[in-house]
Structures are given as structure tokens and as C-alpha cells.
Symmetry: C2
Subunit: 494 residues, 2 copies
Amino acid sequence: MDVPCCTALNPIRETKVNDGERLTFEKSMLQPAVAMKVGVLFSGGPAPGGHAFLYGLGKALFEIHDKIELLGFLEGAKGLIGCNFMKLDMKTLAAYESLGGFHLLGTSRKKIEDPDDFAKIEEVILKLGLSAIVFVGGDDTHTNAYHLGKYLEKKMLPTTIVAAPKTIDGDVKSQDIKQSFGFDTATRVYSELIGNLGTDLLSTKKYWHFVRLMGRKASHVTLECALQTEPNLALISEEVEREKMTLNSLVDHIVELVIERKKVKKPYGLVLIPEGLIEFIPEMKELLGELNRLLAAGKDAASLSEKSRAVFDLLPPAFQRELQSERDSHGNIGLSHIKTEELLKEIVMERLTREGQNGEISILGHFYGYEGRCSPPSDFDRIYCTNLGRVAAALVYHRKSLTVAALDRLEESPVNWQPVGAFMEKAMGVEMRSGKEKRVVQKALVDLKGKPFQHFASKRKQARLADRYSAPGPMQLGFFSKVQITKTLELELQ
Amino acid sequence: MDVPCCTALNPIRETKVNDGERLTFEKSMLQPAVAMKVGVLFSGGPAPGGHAFLYGLGKALFEIHDKIELLGFLEGAKGLIGCNFMKLDMKTLAAYESLGGFHLLGTSRKKIEDPDDFAKIEEVILKLGLSAIVFVGGDDTHTNAYHLGKYLEKKMLPTTIVAAPKTIDGDVKSQDIKQSFGFDTATRVYSELIGNLGTDLLSTKKYWHFVRLMGRKASHVTLECALQTEPNLALISEEVEREKMTLNSLVDHIVELVIERKKVKKPYGLVLIPEGLIEFIPEMKELLGELNRLLAAGKDAASLSEKSRAVFDLLPPAFQRELQSERDSHGNIGLSHIKTEELLKEIVMERLTREGQNGEISILGHFYGYEGRCSPPSDFDRIYCTNLGRVAAALVYHRKSLTVAALDRLEESPVNWQPVGAFMEKAMGVEMRSGKEKRVVQKALVDLKGKPFQHFASKRKQARLADRYSAPGPMQLGFFSKVQITKTLELELQ
């Protein structure tokens, strides 16, 4: 079954690029074909559709010229720096096209930061004669690609740097990039599971399910899953931050809901929690910052400021210990494995017990993350990625460096999608990294004024007491003629 | 889209029942139709296909006579005892037919045990004039149904008692009952997720995923998921018990695998753990028994025997606390919420650290249970349940009390499936319940000499070091012409 392709790039050699705020494509005269070598790599956590992207990229490049070589660097930037790659042919790409994961090439979180890394990549480019490198990754990867592109410009090397927007978190997003790939699939997998929990509640009328969802920096995943499944409560980190909520007020909020539902004989419910929640609670952020500095100085929680001490004292002992022992590779508190759902569960249960309201209430925690990021791609992600691959091929062919492959008019049928080259420059901002200012691609957080959040907010009061749980069921594949988009995208494109 | 039906029951009124070791059906002369009232109820945890069963039952009954009434008792035996029911019509049944969950009628774990319960049900039967009651449930429910049937026989009441084999655990199983409904769907949902974790490992080459799977008393679910996804290790409780493994030897087993894989540069892996594992470790069983008796007598772990004390000391402190605080409704240690995957994770990590082998190793725990038991039914479960409903209707119509609706020849196309009435009597055994002998339906454990386990055992050595992870992907629905059965069933029916 052939994945439908946007016609504006069909065939690629007849496509003309128009400059402006972003690059778009239109059919034009046949361009001369050239033989060239193109590198591609995956970076960061896997996202469904990665292999379809490679397939789309390869297919388009080989259409341009059968002498074009596509080199896949192994394990992300490690492979690029170490000149470790495999030559990709259509037979291999076709065999992997519909599979989840990034295992054809592997991936890593290796960054391109040290001057040494840049020098080594320069060597590899010269040694192999690379015309272009395509980076498949999220904001960090785009930042790396941007700085590499700038470095190559300075060195007068004509290698084109192109990126593809990958992340299940959905936070690589802009006017030009409507959605990152993988977001569609991951939220469908999570929504299948959350929806099933909702059905369980309707059937058994017991348990509170506290579901934590992957996505540390932004709550797009939680918002989309809430739109798909209509839980009784979904916490959105960006709102928690805006409202300057405290851990206590957050717990109040949940306890109130539990008691309210219990009063109407519903000792059960469904709560969605974004993975990064605690970092968005201002007082927790402060506490974590202080703790990081103390631990780095060989001290411990005993030396906390009075204010942070009070917050620390609210935490169950197991979490207090965890905060002081788990560290990530940067020496910071390892927040990615902090079980926020268990933290909230413990504090909420303690509070309910204190108020004599714990009867009939039993809370179960869940975390959905890895299960979704390596799923086979949804129809949308499969078609989207194949076409993103074609766009990337066109950007490479037209030597448009420092661009991100994107597609517009996603509300229409895939054949009408509009290929776009988004300028990396437009997404750059300045952030503090390791104590220094650095130009980085900025993550797109949930826009609290945007239609998806507004729609969610307009419905959530009803969802508290009514059991509106919606169960989308398992993702159905291969229905290319009626491709569904996420609720978020649907609302945004209205 | 119409679900295919086994032709032997098509139409039901032309079907003749043949007695023997079990009841089978063949076409015969038209039987006279009678108007009657039939009750039906769900009992215990939900399983995918419950609504399809109701649909099949209702459709067949209304075919027999349009004056037949089908009454759905609400919240299991509670509704039967309290005479709380809803009249079911085809419009309602059709609307729910393909949905997961048990929410049309609700369910509960209420047992029929007190003499008072029997008397109240007798009253309800007389008041409503019930010709039959159909119990949809697992072994406990079948036990209740059996004792109710016997009670009614003694009282000379002609109400027919029929059961349907429901449980995602797969442990209602016999020569006549090839598979319980829900098992097919739940194992597909879990295998989707486990398969995705396998793909993640291939892509990122990090983390050990310890996955605990629902099913406390038997390991059918874990075995089926292992057959579908080929993890590096799957623990089967029945084997752990047969081999008289200790907690220590189990941990040795896992630690050995972790180190072995690390040596070949694979600091990652996938382990499946049946929910009930710790109760199958003989020394743990002993410890739990002792603890139960001590706690009931107001004592604590300090009074344990020397042997059990040694086992207790192996447990991480958090679990020691949990074992002494969590209790279920019978006052026993609440094992269902014990996170065995976290327990093993902690002990394994501690051991690895002690042996200086913890570098690069990070273990993540998962539990899959509720997500699968309320999924929309797989094609198999949907067709199977619709047909089980028809079989139940035939058993009711032919007044065959104390039988379980079943289907044979499942390896063939659904139209060729053989309807069967299994005699409850054959499944009865004697067990100690609350210190007294009771006749109960016995759970079918994994047969270590059976083909599914033997097949698994023959492949598992290879699976340790090779990364054979198989990812079945999301369940695809509506392909009635090529219905898949579980690997377990496939091997058993060979």
C-alpha cells in the first residue's frame, strides 16, 4: 500500500523553491540533477515515524539521481563525529518504513558542543564529501544542527544542514511547524490506555487512577490525551505555573475533587498528570534549585532556606530521600524518574485520611511513556513522515541550509499538504546553559490562550462530576484515505 | 458488519442437544418455542467481550420467541440478591456490543455465600418467575453459580443455571473450555506495549524494563505475552514453585542475565513478571502465612520464626513496612498492590551494586493490568463472546442447568466452531476456604508439560542474549474473515 504524497513535490526535480518568511515549493521547470552524498541521523529519544522519514527522504533523493548516496550515521551525533555509518538502499528502507523505533540507525543524546566535536565533523564532511546532513531530532538537536550550520558557513563549507521536527512531546512547534512527528502516535497509544481505564471505572466504580504522561518540559501530551479521553481532571503544567500554584493548593484541588465525587457516590476517578509537573510549581522549582546547589556543595536538605524547608517537609519521606540521592548525568537531581503520580497519591491519601474521607478511596498510579514513543506509527505519522522526508530531500536538493522540513495545510488531504522549509533562525532564543548564555531553539509550551487549551478549559467543569470518559480504542492502521489528525491540531487549524 | 456465527446453532430452535461427557449440539427438528424470563449478570473484574456476550445471548433468545424477556441484574450478585435489574432490548445490546468494559450492567465481587443470600435469590426467582440465570464470571462466580444451582435443585425449583467462562487471567480452562474470554484481548493489549518497549531497547540500547502483568493465581498471561513478544526473560510462577526457587535464587537468575548481557555490550533487557509471583516462591508463601497469623494475633514481624525472619530480612525496608500495613478485605496481607517489579528491581540493583556491576544499568518497572481488562474486544473475543452468548441461550432453552457455555474447534473458521455445554460438576474440587473444606471450581494453572510452556522453554535460552523482541503493534479490528487466536491456543490445538 503506497503512502499518499503531497503533489507539490511530485516529482522533486520539477519543484521550485520560493523564499520569504519561510520556504514554499511550486512546480516549475526541470532542474538539473546532481550526484551527491547525503548524511542523515536520529538524535534523542525515539519517535514513531522515524523510519518512514528515512524512507521518504531516500525515495525522493534516489528519484533525483540514482547516483545519490544516502549515509545513515549510527547512534546519532556519535556516529557523525566518529564517522560510523551505513549506506542506505531502498530495499532496507522499505523493510523498516512502517516500523516504530529508531533501530535501523540507533540514536543517542550526544550533543555537538565541544570545539573538538565541530572539528571532527568537519573532517568527516571533507573525508566523505558530504553535500548535506539531515538531523532528525527535537529542539536540542535543532540547536546542535544550527550551530554546526553556522560553523560550516564560517568555514565556507557548502554542506547543507536540514532538520526534521521529531518529538513525541509536541514541543517543537511554531507558525511554520504545525506539529512534531511522533506526537500523533504517542498520544493515541496513551489515549487508548487512558480510555480503557475510564471504561474500567464505569464498570467497577472503584479506584482513582493517577496517570503520569511523558513530556517533561511541556504539557501538550497531557492536553491532547485529555481532549481525547475526557478525564475528571488533567493538570497542565503551564497553567500551574501561571497560577503560581503551590504543592498544597494543587493537593487541595485534587482532594476537593475526590470528596466532591464521593458525595455523589462516585468513589473513583481519572486524573492526568504531566511528567514535568513538579518543576512548574514555583516553590518546588525553587526548592529543587536550592537542593541542587546544596548537594553540589556537599551539603544536604538540612541547610535549606526556611521557605524551601517548609515545602520539603510536605514531601513524603521516600521522596525526600529520593531527591537527595538520584542524580542525572549533569549532577542535577534526577527528576525524570521521580514518580509524581506516587507523590501526589501519597500526599492526597494522607490528607484524605486526616480529614476522615479516605473510606472507599484507593489510588493507583500509572506512567505511560516508553510504550508510546516506540509504537509503530499511526497513519498520520507514517504519511506525515514520508512527506517530511520528501520535503527534506527537496531542501537538500535546493541547498537550503539551516532549515527545518515542515508541512502546512494539514487539515486537508495529504496530496494537498503544502511543503515548507522553516528557517531555524526564527526559532532561536537565548537561554542560560551551564551558567552561560547560549542561542538555542526554544521549546513551544502549551499556549494557554490557544484554542486547544481554551476548548479543554471550557469543558473541564462538566468533566469533574459527569463520567464523560471517552475510549478511542486501539489505533487502526492502513486507512490512508481518511487520515485523522490530533484534536490539538484540529482545533488549531480551525 | 455482522459477526460470524457457528452454524450448528443457527437457528437455535432447530438444534438438538446430545448428552455425554459434555453437551454438544446438532441440527434436528424444530422445537416448540416458549416465552420465558432469563436473568444475566456480570461478576468480578471486567473482561473484553462481556457486552458481545450479552448481545449474542439476547439475539439468540429473541430469535426463539419474541416474548422472551432478558433481565440484566446490576452490579453482579448484588443486583440479583437485591432484585435490581434492567430489561434488555436489542437496540441497547447492539449499541454496546463492540464496547469494552461491563458498564451496561456494572459488576461486583459480591459472592453468594450466606444462607441469607440463597434465600433472597430464591425469593427473587419466584417473584420474577425466572426460568434461567446466566452468570458471566470466573472460577469464583462459577462456584457461586454451582452452589446456587444445587440449592435450587434441592428446593425443586426448575430455574436453569448457566455460566460463561470469563477472565483475562485465562485460568478458567479445561478439556471442554478451551479459553476464557478476555484473555485474547488483554494479552494483545499487553503485548502491544511490551513489544513497543522491545523496540525502544533496540533503538536506545538502555534500560532494563521489568514488566509485571495482571493475573495473580496463574501465569497464562505472562506466558502468552512471552510467546508474542520474546523478552529476554519471563518468569512463570508455576515453574518457580515446581523448582522450589527462593527469592535469592530468583534474584541470582536475573542478576546473572544482566551481567551476561552487559558482557556482550547489552546493558538493557526485557523481563516479564507474573503478578502473583511472590506467592509461588515457597519460602515467601510461608513467610506470608506466618505474617498473616501474627498480624491477626496483634503481633508483628519481630515474632517471625528464624527461617521466615531470614527471608523477611532480604526485603527492602519499604516492602517490609508494606507487608505489615496493607490488608485486603479479608484481613489478609494485601498482595494485589505489592509491586513485585519494584521489589525485584531494588534487590537486583542492590546486588549489582555490591558486585560492582551496576554501571550503565538502570531498571524501570511497569505494571499492565487495568489497561487491558477494559479494552474493546479483539476480533476473536468479539466473535467468541457473541457465539458463547448463543451457546448460553441454547443451554437455557434446552434447560441444561449447571453447565458452562463453551466452544470447540477454535482452530477452524467461526462458522465451524462446535458449541459445547461443559458440566460444572467436572471442574469441581475441594479447597480450604476460611478454615473449612468447600467444593469450588478449580483454577487451571499453567501446565508445565503442555505445549505452550514447552515451546516457550525450548526458545528461551536463545532469547537471553539475542534481541528477538517482537512487536505485534496495536490490535487491528474488524477483520472477521481472518481471525487470529492466541499463541497459547494455537499451540494447544495443534
